[in-house]
């Protein structure tokens, strides 16, 4: 069956024996820019083959033709919902290569922008998850509240989704004076909203029926498959790069890592739901603890050269552990940039999770992993 499904250019519906192979995506309301070839026995999924690569733009190769600073806006477009979080480790790796140390104020500014993006990314996920479970209110509420945090990102970085705020040597600009009042006002409102979210969605009996016990990923399986991020924490493992290998002043902040032992779609959702709260707490503390001083060590030159060598950096993006491996040969352009994205590692879980489930649960399980195809395809 696998060979039949793979041999066709666009396999839409193929029947072999009592098995039916259908293609979900890339033009499907429940898939995004991604295709899953699902082999069905009646209503039960007997095999699921992910087919990524519809958005492969060659970001790694293109890095070799742009210099270190020009790569920042290009690499952040791999994950627009989480632009600051995705560029964070690249900046850390480039700074390690160039031997630049960002001032303490810049470290906190980076934390603020990355956590704002984590909230925005999780709210986008929640909105689409609501649509996938047939809950239209849960599309409109997070999308409306997301605009509050979009406004905050605009206040910090200047644009809605592509701020390019974190640059080698610090942050691009300082926080405006009105940021603190604006942020506290938005957080006060959103903390009240979180209780309503819980009442209407996460405690809703219909949502519980559709998500509890669906797509169960056991703790041992999650570790063996290499799942990262909220999906790993939804399987009961308290693993977070922000706590395990603290970077950029995260060790000075007091926050908790939410974790649920169930490993089903509901647990993965609840982890993200609690992370919304903890991200706000992190931003509040960072604004308080932020020392005064320069926000940038020096303006990075476009032709800044890095000495020959290699550097690796790892951070926790919204979708999981994100890392970059940058090799320099002494010129102003990197010799090689390897991007290791969390979405691709979470995609490895898709065939295991979908197998044995119902066809109607495919969108719920798929989106509960928060798989972003643009990020996985690079």
């Amino acid at each position: 069956m696998t060979s039949v499904a793979r041999s066709l250019p666009f396999p839409t519906e193929v029947i072999v024996g009592d098995k039916l192979s259908i293609s979900i995506g890339p033009q499907h309301p429940g898939s995004g820019h991604f295709r899953i070839i699902v082999v069905l026995e009646g209503d039960i999924v007997s095999e699921a083959i992910p087919d990524p690569g519809y958005v492969h733009r060659g970001a790694e190769k293109m890095c070799e033709f742009r210099n270190f600073v020009q790569n920042v806006p290009m690499l952040e477009r791999t994950t627009l919902p989480d632009a600051n979080g995705i560029i964070f480790p690249y900046i850390l790796a480039v700074e390690e290569l160039m031997g630049i140390q960002a001032p303490p104020r810049a470290q906190y500014l980076r934390i603020i922008s990355a956590e704002l993006n984590r909230i925005v990314s999780h709210l986008y996920w929640l909105g689409i998850y609501g649509v996938f479970l047939g809950h239209s209110t849960m599309f409109l509420w997070p999308m409306g509240d997301r605009e509050l945090f979009m406004d905050l990102i605009q206040t910090v970085g200047g644009t809605r989704v592509t701020p390019s705020y974190i640059i080698p040597g610090g942050a691009r600009n300082d926080l405006p004076d009105n940021f603190k009042d604006k942020a506290l006002k938005a957080f006060g409102y959103f903390e009240r909203r979180l209780k309503e979210y819980d009442r209407i969605f996460f405690s809703n009996p219909l949502v519980l029926k559709r998500s509890q016990g669906v797509g169960v990923l056991k703790r041992s399986e999650a570790i063996a498959l290499g799942i990262t991020g909220p999906n790993l924490r939804g399987s009961g493992l308290k693993s977070d790069t922000r706590k395990d290998e603290p970077y950029s002043m995260y060790e000075t902040l007091d926050f908790d890592i939410p974790s649920y032992p169930d490993g089903d779609c509901w647990a993965r959702g609840m982890v993200r739901f609690h992370e919304l709260y903890w991200s706000m707490q992190i931003i509040k503390q960072a604004v308080e603890k932020m020392p005064s001083g320069p926000f940038r060590s020096r303006l990075p030159l476009l032709t800044a050269r890095a000495p020959a060598g290699e550097a690796v950096a790892r951070t926790e993006a919204a979708r999981g552990c994100m890392s970059y491996y940058v090799v320099s040969d002494g010129t102003s352009k990197p010799y090689r940039v390897r991007v290791s994205v969390p979405s691709f590692r979470n995609m490895i879980g898709i065939p295991y999770l979908l197998k044995g489930g119902h066809l109607a649960d495919v969108p719920a399980i798929y989106w509960s992993l928060d798989y972003w195809p643009v990020e996985a395809d690079k």
Partner: protein, 164 residues
């Protein structure tokens, strides 16, 4: 005395002037306020399209309906950004499957010229070779306000177009 054929031609001309113009206006008016976009995401501009459908911007007040219908009922194809070599035949297939009349909006710099990925080995330099485009939205990604502006421009175009 006027020849019968000339009389028929005259009547036809009068009828076209009397009915054709109101009929064209009526049909176009019906079409332009109920645009059904195809739900096909090609790249990262889809996140701003999602934000456009949120409560703050709400394109339904202008007549852009939600993107969850069937392909066979849709009349608007919005290409969200980068089209790769793997996705291009699929996008052409989607365009061919849509019934007439249909309109195309190219959203984002990647759909217009390739944008930031102009020198990538796997990205098409714009979608003009695949299908005719009605409205281009510049930006990387365009703001939701730009999407609404493009929608209004497309509606003006439909309002002035000939009856198809």
């Amino acid at each position: 005395m006027v020849a019968p054929n000339a009389l028929v031609g005259k009547v036809n001309e009068i009828l076209v002037q009397a009915i054709g113009e109101p009929l064209r206006y009526l049909v176009n008016w019906g079409r332009l306020y109920s645009l059904w976009p195809v739900h096909v995401e090609t790249a990262c501009c889809s996140i701003e399209f999602g934000a456009t459908h949120g409560p703050r911007f709400d394109p339904e007040r202008f007549g852009l309906l939600e993107a969850f219908g069937s392909l066979r009922q849709c009349d608007l194809l919005i290409v969200f950004g980068t089209v790769t070599r793997k996705f291009a035949p699929r996008l052409k297939m989607i365009y061919d499957q849509m019934p007439e009349p249909k309109w195309v909006i190219a959203m984002g710099a990647c759909a217009i010229t390739g944008g930031l990925y102009f020198d990538s080995y796997n990205v098409l330099p714009g979608i003009d070779d695949l299908m005719p485009v009605d409205v281009y939205i510049p930006g990387c990604p365009p703001r939701p306000e730009s999407v609404l502006q493009a929608l209004i421009m497309l509606q003006e175009k439909i309002r002035k177009s000939k009856l198809r």
